[in-house]
Symmetry: C2
Subunit: 211 residues, 2 copies
DNA sequence: CTATTTATGTACCGAATGGTAAATAAATAA
DNA sequence: TTATTTATTTACCATTCGGTACATAAATAG
């Protein structure tokens, strides 16, 4: 009833009431990220997550809700964290530099051995059982969002004059995300960084031809 | 003990001994293909398969072994059947035509609504739980095989003279399969045929630039 | 101190998973 | 006919799945 009032009250003043949480939530999310990233949503079992987080199951549920909610939180952490190179790429001054940075950044990222290979948004639930439909849609939507962001950036490039007015920005964006997704598959299939770099060199070679 | 001798005996002569199989094995595999293709290896449950095949579970196990063996048989059927357009593409007379046919064939195939979208070899087990490691490796190996086939075809093109000796055939092959895999992801994410065609038009536009 | 609140650990839940034992049905062989 | 062989059906198995009830531990409030 009056929980809202209580929450208002202890902004920073009073210490929380009951037994304190005994683990670092952010660290826990990072560990969960590693599991979901390498195994996908369905491939990651709760028991595996329990082991990786070092927390008992009821504490996970108390802190994050359920498996689906945990995945969503991990997903946001992934996008704003490890996958943050994408935003940086979009801030490059010209369309050509955006494309270059986006693809080279992806290659660097996908083949970085300090974390699971490939893109979590691609591998998370490409195909899945009935129970994961919602997560699948969510990931599809995230991929679309990225495509939209790139298209918007290219629309801006037309305004700024570093992309011809005749350029089809939607097609260019889809071209880049298609490569991005293909690179992710290649990376998780064992392709080396050098191989992936060669691929995007071919793909970028014709940027002037194409736009 | 002497089963081998028996098998030798009834090549075509005597009718099989016991109760006859009551279902069309090939039709069953085709139904199983549909399930695995749309749900992936782990996403497809045995109960779903039982329903789709219209056969009771023990009969499936008697006929095909287990879930893994069934998937393998389905996979071979997929590669030699629906995915047969790839072999045809490789038989085109020039490297450029091979590339064109390979990509346009993939787009046609991935967006054909008479069967599940995308490529089963890509979506089958991109990420998975511990139990599907073997299938995952199998699919990775199949993707590599395709890449190898394309490379070999391009090596031949160098000999035949329709590809310059300076061309890096391995890189070209990886470029094409990366696009192929990206197109598969896009198709299962709802991209239209027209959109995919626009993507490969961009990708092919620079073939002369690149090879 | 006691009362209250919140988090933890143990032990468990029903449902779904892949897989099978055992009885029965349908064919051929003799 | 009877014996043998193979396939089908029903009913079940152990394990794992995601998720939780419940008792207890650790903090603050009074």
């Amino acid at each position: 009833m009056n929980t809202e009032i209580k929450i208002e009250k202890d902004k920073k003043t009073s210490k929380p009431r009951g037994r304190p949480v005994a683990f670092d939530q952010d660290k826990a999310l990072e560990n969960a990220l590693h599991v979901f990233w390498s195994r996908g949503y369905e491939g990651a079992s709760m028991s595996e997550l329990v082991e990786a987080l070092g927390i008992n199951k009821p504490s996970i549920y108390a802190a994050f809700g359920n498996k689906e909610a945990l995945f969503q939180k991990v997903l946001e952490k992934y996008i704003s964290g490890p996958a943050g190179f994408i935003s940086k790429a979009l801030n490059e001054p010209t369309a050509k530099l955006v494309a270059e940075k986006f693809l080279t950044g992806a290659v660097e990222f996908f083949s970085d051995e300090s974390h699971p290979s490939g893109c979590m948004v691609v591998q998370g639930a490409l195909s899945c059982g009935q129970g994961a439909d919602f997560i699948q849609s969510e990931l599809i939507s995230r991929r679309r969002q990225l495509e939209e962001h790139i298209k918007n950036r290219f629309d801006l490039a037309i305004v700024k004059g570093d992309l011809p007015k005749s350029a089809n920005t939607a097609n260019l964006a889809k071209y880049l995300t298609t490569l991005h997704q293909g690179l992710s598959v290649q990376a998780t299939s064992g392709a080396s960084k050098a191989e992936l770099l060669a691929v995007i060199e071919l793909a970028l070679h014709n940027w002037s031809t194409v736009s």
